[in-house]
């Protein structure tokens, strides 16, 4: 069986851990837990009839005090760039993080996840911006870890992209 290392990247509190929990255990927990260091989880997905083991490295969210260490990303086959749709800044941060990765590691399959779709009334990213992202070659997908909407989909997208790459 193929195994792939996948990293969950993004600013703090965008919902990386929640997405992993929803994806792996189908659970959502309202309370917020800061991830310290790394959590490793595992999920087997089926892409085009082939099972792939995804080793999900849920890496602590970057903020002003904690720069993410690139060493955790060593050997990853792809990553989910998680953005909080209700905080515009997290998109900017995610894109700059992406730039850093391209520079230091190289181009890898990635999916842009616009999380917290359930909070549509507080949404800060307009559709123009979203379509611009798609034009720039991004696979961008709105999700909700709370309701479970499209969570499976983003992981499958990434898995497919990694197999193609």
């Amino acid at each position: 069986m193929l195994q792939k290392k996948v990293c969950m990247l993004g600013s703090f509190s965008v919902g990386k851990t929640s997405l992993v929990r929803r994806f792996v255990e189908s659970i959502f927990d309202e309370t917020y837990h800061t991830t310290i260091g790394v959590k490793v989880d595992k999920k087997i997905v089926n892409v085009n009839g082939e099972d792939i083991t995804l080793m999900l490295w849920d890496i602590y969210g970057e903020d002003a005090y904690q720069k993410m260490r690139m060493s955790y990303l060593r050997g990853m086959a792809g990553y989910l760039l998680v953005v909080d749709g209700t905080r515009k800044q997290t998109l900017t941060d995610a894109l700059s993080l992406h730039e850093r990765i391209v520079q230091e590691i190289g181009k890898l399959p990635a999916v842009l996840v616009l999380n917290k779709d359930d909070l549509a009334d507080q949404w800060e990213i307009d559709s123009v911006q979203e379509s611009k992202l798609t034009q720039n070659g991004w696979t961008a997908q709105r999700t909700s870890a709370k309701t479970g909407d499209a969570v499976e989909k983003v992981f499958l997208h990434l898995a497919q992209a990694m197999l193609a790459g």
Partner: protein, 614 residues
């Protein structure tokens, strides 16, 4: 390649000037001559000129010179070395090589580390094992003089197995169990291969490996400034995780207990082996662990290391334990038996001391033999019999018992019995010097008792209150029997009623025995024979009839040899009827003779006096 650039080189120009000097002179001559000379010169020197130009070119062109040197540099160095003058060469090269290495490390230490990895492992191991060996030797020496129980035990084991002591010590420190071994791709932290010891509890290998890698990176990022350092060990109480890191792969072993240091060497060896064998597979790893399946055997050997040690470690104590247990059992059995014997003997001694007529003064044990000193009444129990009864062997008893008379009550009674031979009906009992006789005994024995008992050792007083004279008793019994006899007569006659002969014979016998007994008691016997009649007829005839009847019986007795008794016949007529005469039976009973017996102290004459009173 380039044409000679003469103008650019001053040295060249000077040379040219020299050569041109004659030509300048010749130019003053006609041009034909000049031309011819030029041609001639060209014919003569052109090949040389071209050769010189080529040489010049080779000397002056840096690239060409480099090419020239490069083709001979290896041979040159080799030649230099063959000349045996390589010290200078080494001196010359050393600074450059040092600088090169330093620069290489500064730029990327990984390159050099990777290059040296296959060399360094064995080299370091060799050095470590050398150090360990010398350390153990000194350790050995140190323990040589130690007298600790453990040291002694190991030393015995070393002697028994013929292995060096140090090895035994090492072996005993190998108490561990390798439960899982992971082969992890270093870059991705993904599991390449995973082996588990039988019956070991495991978690998801992928998760464990991922977390291990994460921890490794976290530890490296957080604590070590040098990025090349790796996390080697993690210890949780009894569980230890040993990690050895190679350029492309990591081996992690979960060990329960304390594995010796050289276990890491085995891990290193395996990792080097895997690195060599799978180098391209490791470099091109894209998430498919299939090519590493064959590494399982190598990893499993790391589990087996523990199995190889375990039985060896177990077998020895088992043999020792069995030997020890047998020895202990024998010792216990021997000790138990001796204790049992001793206990039995002491029990026997205690019983012996309780015995009447035996006094134990002292006893000693000499090997298996017991020596017992003391006194014994000749009438006391045989001690040898007591030994046999106690289940002991009398052959192991040396009895030195002097004879004596015991004043113990039981012994006094026993002695009295032995000397007095009392009849079965008499019980002798001794108590505090007083001898009691109870029961019935013949006069003769009573006389003996009274005479002899006071002479018996231990008897100072007699008590006869419970003693009955059996002779007197018998006498009374016979007297009663005689007196209850009634001999019947027919009406008006003095001859016995037919069928009364038996009664007469019985009374005759009784009288004879009574007399015999009484004679022994020195008693004289008088028997009244009383003749009766019934009231039929007149008293004048009845009285003589009754007298006749009494006389008749006396005569009969005398005729039958009854002697030494005074038989006195009386006729009482009807004066002493036995019954009222209301019935014929009553009347019949009154036609009879009855007896009355009297005793009196015998006087010399009376004893033999058989003569009738009248």
């Amino acid at each position: 390649m380039n044409p000679p650039a003469r103008d650019l080189h001053p040295s060249n120009m000077a040379e040219q000037a020299q050569r041109r000097a004659p030509v300048a002179q010749a130019q003053e001559k006609p041009t034909d001559n000049n031309h011819a000379y030029e041609e001639l010169r060209e014919l003569i020197v052109k090949p040389e000129q071209e050769g010189i130009a080529a040489i010049q070119d080779r000397l002056e062109n840096l690239e060409k010179r480099t090419q020239d040197v490069s083709s001979v540099v290896a041979e040159a160095i080799q030649m230099r070395r063959e000349k045996g003058d390589d010290e200078a060469l080494a001196d010359a090269l050393a600074p450059t090589i040092q600088e090169t290495l330093r620069e290489s490390v500064r730029r990327d230490p990984q390159v050099l580390a990777d290059a040296l990895f296959p060399v360094m492992g064995p080299a370091i191991r060799k050095s470590i094992s050398e150090t360990l060996r010398s350390m153990l030797e000194s350790f050995n020496e140190a323990l040589e003089h130690s007298l600790s129980w453990q040291g002694l035990k190991w030393r015995i084991e070393s002697f028994r197995t013929g292995k060096p002591f140090a090895e035994i010590v090492l072996m005993h420190s190998l108490v561990y169990r390798v439960e899982q071994v992971f082969l992890i791709h270093r870059e991705t932290g993904l599991v390449l291969s995973h082996v588990v010891a039988p019956a070991a509890a495991t978690q998801d290998a992928d998760m464990v490996a991922g977390l291990l890698s994460a921890i490794q990176q976290f530890a490296r990022d957080s604590f070590t400034p040098e990025k090349t350092e790796t996390l080697g060990n993690m210890t949780f109480e009894e569980l230890q995780i040993r990690v050895v890191t190679g350029p492309g792969a990591v081996i992690a072993a979960a060990i329960r207990g304390h594995a010796p240091e050289n276990y890491s060497i085995a891990m290193d060896e395996t990792l080097e082996d895997i690195q060599r064998f799978y180098s391209s597979a490791l470099a091109n790893f894209k998430g498919d662990a299939a090519p590493f399946r064959s590494a399982e055997d190598r990893l499993a050997r790391l589990l087996e290391t523990q199995y190889r040690e375990k039985p060896v470690e177990k077998k020895k104590p088992r043999a020792a334990i069995i030997a020890g247990a047998v020895a202990l059992l024998l010792l216990l059995a021997w000790g138990g038996y001796s204790t049992y014997l001793l206990w039995e003997w002491s029990r026997f001694l205690h019983a012996l001391r309780q015995q009447a007529g035996i006094v134990v003064v002292s006893y000693t044990k000499d090997g298996r033999t017991f020596h017992i000193q003391g006194f014994r009444d000749p009438l006391a129990e045989d001690p040898r019999k007591l030994i046999s009864q106690a289940g002991l062997d009398p052959n192991f008893a040396d009895l030195q018992l002097a004879p004596y008379y015991s004043l113990d009550d039981a012994m006094v009674a026993k002695r009295a019995n032995a000397l007095l031979h009392p009849p079965a009906s008499v019980k002798l009992n001794a108590k505090g010097g007083e001898l009691d006789a109870a029961g019935a005994a013949p006069q003769q024995w009573i006389t003996q008792f009274e005479e002899r008992a006071p002479w018996i050792a231990g008897v100072s007083k007699l008590d006869e209150s419970q003693l009955q004279n059996s002779t007197v008793q018998e006498l009374n019994a016979q007297k009663n029997a005689i007196e209850s006899t009634v001999l019947l007569f027919p009406l008006g006659r003095a001859e016995l009623e037919p069928g009364q002969e038996n009664n007469l014979a019985q009374v005759e016998k009784n009288i004879r025995e009574l007399v015999a007994q009484a004679t022994r008691l020195h008693e004289a016997v008088d028997v009244d024979l009383v003749g009766h009649t019934d009231t039929t007829g007149v008293e004048a005839t009845n009285l003589p009839l009754s007298q006749q009847r009494a006389d008749q019986i006396r005569g009969s007795l005398l005729r039958n040899g009854v002697k030494a008794v005074n038989l006195r016949p009386h006729g009482v007529g009807t004066t002493q009827p036995l019954r009222s005469e209301d019935t014929e039976d009553g009347r019949q009973l009154n036609r009879s003779v009855t007896f009355k017996v009297y005793f009196s102290a015998a006087s010399s004459g009376a004893a033999s006096g058989a003569a009738p009173a009248y």
